[in-house]
Symmetry: C2
Subunit: 580 residues, 2 copies
């Protein structure tokens, strides 16, 4: 540990039990000291490079703004009053020098949308106590951006002084997994662009790098697609409840400038009733009743995929959407397809009879066509693991049977396909065994909407289908590599929290999402923690004060993160533990 | 049914299955027609009385504002487009004439704070189709105010026209129960006055008439009490996180002007650690650890009630608080008292030894003193049914044992005492058998905070103690008279939803409360509904479209009520039912 003032995070915890360096996610390597350093009133961040990208310059400006406006008092009794004496004698930090290891740094936006596995988010940050410059280094713009995010979390306010406790601070940091996402469903209920942007900001603060946008579903089709304007005109909830092509460009660039790749999802062939509003010819069991016989939730409606013209329509639609999103990833969904709809559709049966194909073979052709079109555009297809759920309504709950379907049925998926496992974390092993890359999205760990009761009408005593509520602790203690061999483990790309919007809208977007979604952000950046203390000192107990900290910081930046505990507890780390 | 255009609510449902007259709570008697009437641009509400109270005039102004600003489209596909033709030929309503059956109406505020059982909230409202004046009549200002609230819910907007469908409308209405409340805990986390006022507004829109203010607890003491300023100075979370005496006056009058009585609670002798910050001499087991041995949640701390000076302090404090609140009701709490704290307190043991009293006898004396002081000031004491929980930590979950304690132990309560039953709805019968008046506040039906996971630190796999989430359907189907004799039934004053704030703050106040808390508001106004269709056509199924309606109306008035379903379902009453 060299310098006597340095102590590792873990040791610091054992010694002082303070919420030291309340960073979220926790860096891979962190050493802290026992001094503090005050931000000089003329403090500035200097990009020490020729031709610095405009979006990096903007990120610097935002960082400077956060530093001067966060006004976050330390979450300790007295809110920093115990630092008052040290603040008086502390040195002033005047500058953070940011330098890049490559001569011509690319834009942050471009790097944010690179192939997932080629992105470089590593950075090295040093904040001395002696008034000499702080330094941030990386070999990528993306790395520099992550470092700026970390830097802004080091500072607190007391009596109008901005300062960083526990200096000198040395950080070397990189993500454990390349994909840390957040999914929002904007189809069950609509969210204005401003809500999405606020969410993107909050995501970037915890280094989430993928916005999985479940933009359409059976209930509404709120995205304008060039060449397919009738879909939103007739399928959106209203003329003002649409993401225009300009809105989409705005969201994509806003996200990219914050290190976030927008992965759009057009769920097919199920979850497509809204397409039937303008294209009834492509939709089977359109609004069929009783809906329980035809869909997992109302309204029913699925693409008539055996029909060639529907295949052509779908590939054209997906291609048009794909051109709106620069991301290399594109989700075609594929969950909750009900055979009843096809068994009862005369046209489908006729086609199958005449071609001699089974329904599965037909779905396989459809999938190859749609995925093929996307791959031609340079996209990697993403699907839910329930891809070939050729079962009845029960499939959603009978995960064992479903796994068999995923694995044994004949829907051919390219090896390149990325699979999001949602039905159950128990399905990860089987999907990985098939050699697919996996994004963790299990409803039993990462669904933000669970536990709010049944939303289907006239079912007064039912609870949420995925009851209980998934606490941040539950998500945080998820093991991404459970039951996997070493080879299979390499297929894990990361994971995400998800907000399905049957019972959500802009009114509870912040409160249902934050700070809970930060749990997966740290899990997939810093690596798994579990309940035992890890090498870097993490577990649910040491995480809580830091999670409070990022929640309060979010609050001060305008995101309405909820209280995890009484303020009395938040100000007294550990004191409200079960064992305290 | 006389006039052929009239049809009862129930019949209308059977015939048309529309979300007719989306009132919340549903009036006791309602007949609707099949016309509609348009609000004239010069529409006004005329108080046809001499010396109309100022606060009634203000309520009229607010009603006029709501009528012109709600801009609520009907929750049907097309948002009112199907009314367009009828709007064109409809008559114009120019005036609502409001008249009172008494010569000198009292102020709304005074009537709102009358003795619970003497309040008169009855009104008669008539909205004709033919352009003749609408009329509102009552024998009380409070009744007129309830009628104005109903009137404002009759109107919708389409294409900038404000109109009421289903006229003519005849309403005769009164509450089934005199007490419909909402409880907010402002001690675990603090809520600014503006949040409380917004909540009071929303409460008044659904005719809730009691704000049960759990203002202090062990975590903080955020209310300034004249003569006891040290309590908030040292016990509040911070100097800006305090309700000043002026704030309290503001809240009390704001509530009263909206027909709401503010029932304050100073929980004693448990839940009082915050008093120990300034008066350690009155608090036993102050912040004792491990807290699980001394309290149901951290921090521990209870009043040393065997001590005469503590009794004097408490009666003085309660009297001082009582003078700040004009309500006739005052809650002294009484829940979750832990004997460990007294068994381990040398001073208490010494006093008990010297007086020969048991701890229970001593608690009984304390209760008689504090309640006696309140009764002298004209207050009716309110307690939680866990009054004499002389058990260990288990008492919170072992309701049977607790019931025995309530009933068999010797803490003497005046017959006049009102008991709020919180631990379990199963305890209502036993409390009523003892002859106490009851307010339903059962955690198994009315706790808004249940189901959000465990908030205690380092307990990663625990769910909320009162899991699962209490859905609006669950609350709505509560039977207030279950297991009660006819005589016991007369002791039921009403009930309320409650928001405990361990995991709540201003950020989720609206989203966790609305529209759920409207479920008890209707239950205790319109009477129980259950799952079967009642005489007035109510059940969870017919309630849902109306609940959507009031939620959207709240939204348009600035209260962030959440979405109960996808908008697709909200616009199609019944179509997302389980059986649709």
């Amino acid at each position: 540990m060299g310098h006597p003032k340095f102590t590792t995070w873990f040791a610091a915890l054992l010694v002082a039990c303070t919420p030291a360096a309340a960073l979220w996610p926790l860096p891979q390597s962190l050493t802290t000291g026992s001094d503090l350093v005050v931000l000089a009133t003329n403090f500035n961040i200097k990009l020490s490079m020729d031709n610095s990208p405009k979006d990096l310059q903007d990120a610097v400006s935002r960082t400077e703004h956060y530093l001067s406006h966060d006004n976050l008092g330390r979450l300790l009794v007295g809110r920093g009053s115990s630092d008052a004496a040290a603040i008086k004698t502390a040195k002033q930090l005047s500058i953070l020098i940011v330098s890049c290891g490559v001569d011509t740094p690319r834009s942050l936006s471009d790097e944010a949308m690179d192939d997932l596995e080629s992105r470089d988010e590593k950075y090295i940050l040093s904040v001395p106590s002696d008034g000499t410059p702080a330094t941030l280094r990386a070999n990528s713009t993306l790395g520099l951006f992550r470092g700026l995010t970390t830097f802004s979390q080091l500072f607190y306010e007391y009596d109008r002084v901005i300062y960083a406790p526990e200096t000198p601070i040395e950080i070397e940091d990189w993500p454990t997994y390349p994909y840390r996402g957040f999914m929002l469903d904007t189809a069950r209920n609509y969210y204005p662009v401003s809500d999405i942007k606020r969410t993107l900001d909050a995501m970037s603060w915890v280094k989430i790098n993928a916005f999985h946008w479940h933009v359409v579903d059976s209930q509404s089709f709120p995205i304008e697609v060039p060449g397919f304007m009738e879909l939103s005109q007739q399928g959106a909830y209203g003329p003002n409840l649409v993401y225009t092509t300009s809105d989409v460009r705005d969201i994509v660039s806003y996200a990219a400038e914050r290190g976030i790749d927008v992965v759009v999802e057009i769920d097919t062939p199920g979850h497509t009733a809204a397409i039937g509003e303008s294209h009834p010819e492509h939709v089977v069991c359109f609004h069929a009743t009783p809906w329980v016989n035809w869909a997992n939730e109302p309204p029913a409606g699925q693409l008539r995929f055996a029909n060639e013209s529907t295949v052509f329509f779908t590939t054209s639609l997906l291609s048009a959407v794909a051109k709106m999103f620069p991301s290399k990833l594109f989700s075609t969904g594929g969950d909750e397809v009900h055979t009843n709809c096809y068994n009862a559709d005369a046209q489908t049966q006729e086609i199958l009879n005449s071609t001699g194909q089974t329904l599965e073979q037909s779905l396989s052709s459809f999938t190859q066509s749609t995925h093929g079109a996307l791959e031609k555009l340079g996209k990697t297809p993403v699907v839910w693991e329930g891809r070939s759920c050729f079962l009845d309504f029960q499939c959603i709950s009978s995960t064992e049977t479903l796994s068999e379907m995923v694995l044994e049925h004949n829907v051919t998926l390219s090896n390149n396909t990325v699979v999001m496992v949602w039905i159950s974390s128990q399905n990860v092993e089987a999907v990985a065994q098939k050699g697919f890359r996996v994004i963790h999205a299990a409803s039993d760990y990462f669904y933000l909407d669970c536990g709010a009761g049944e939303w289907i009408g006239n079912d007064p005593f039912a609870n949420s289908w995925c009851d209980p509520f998934k606490t941040w602790q539950k998500s945080y203690t998820f093991d991404p590599l459970a039951n996997l061999t070493e080879a299979e483990s390499k297929l894990i790309l990361g994971g995400q929290h998800m907000l399905w919007s049957e019972q959500s809208s802009p009114h509870n977007l912040d409160s249902i999402t934050w700070p809970r979604a930060a749990a997966s952000a740290e899990l997939f950046w810093s690596g798994p923690a579990g309940t035992e203390t890890t090498a870097n000192g993490r577990n649910v107990d040491t995480a809580l004060p830091r999670l409070h900290d990022i929640a309060f910081r979010m609050t001060n930046r305008g995101v309405a993160a909820i209280a995890l505990q009484p303020l009395w507890c938040a100000l007294r780390p550990g004191v409200c533990d079960l064992t305290a």
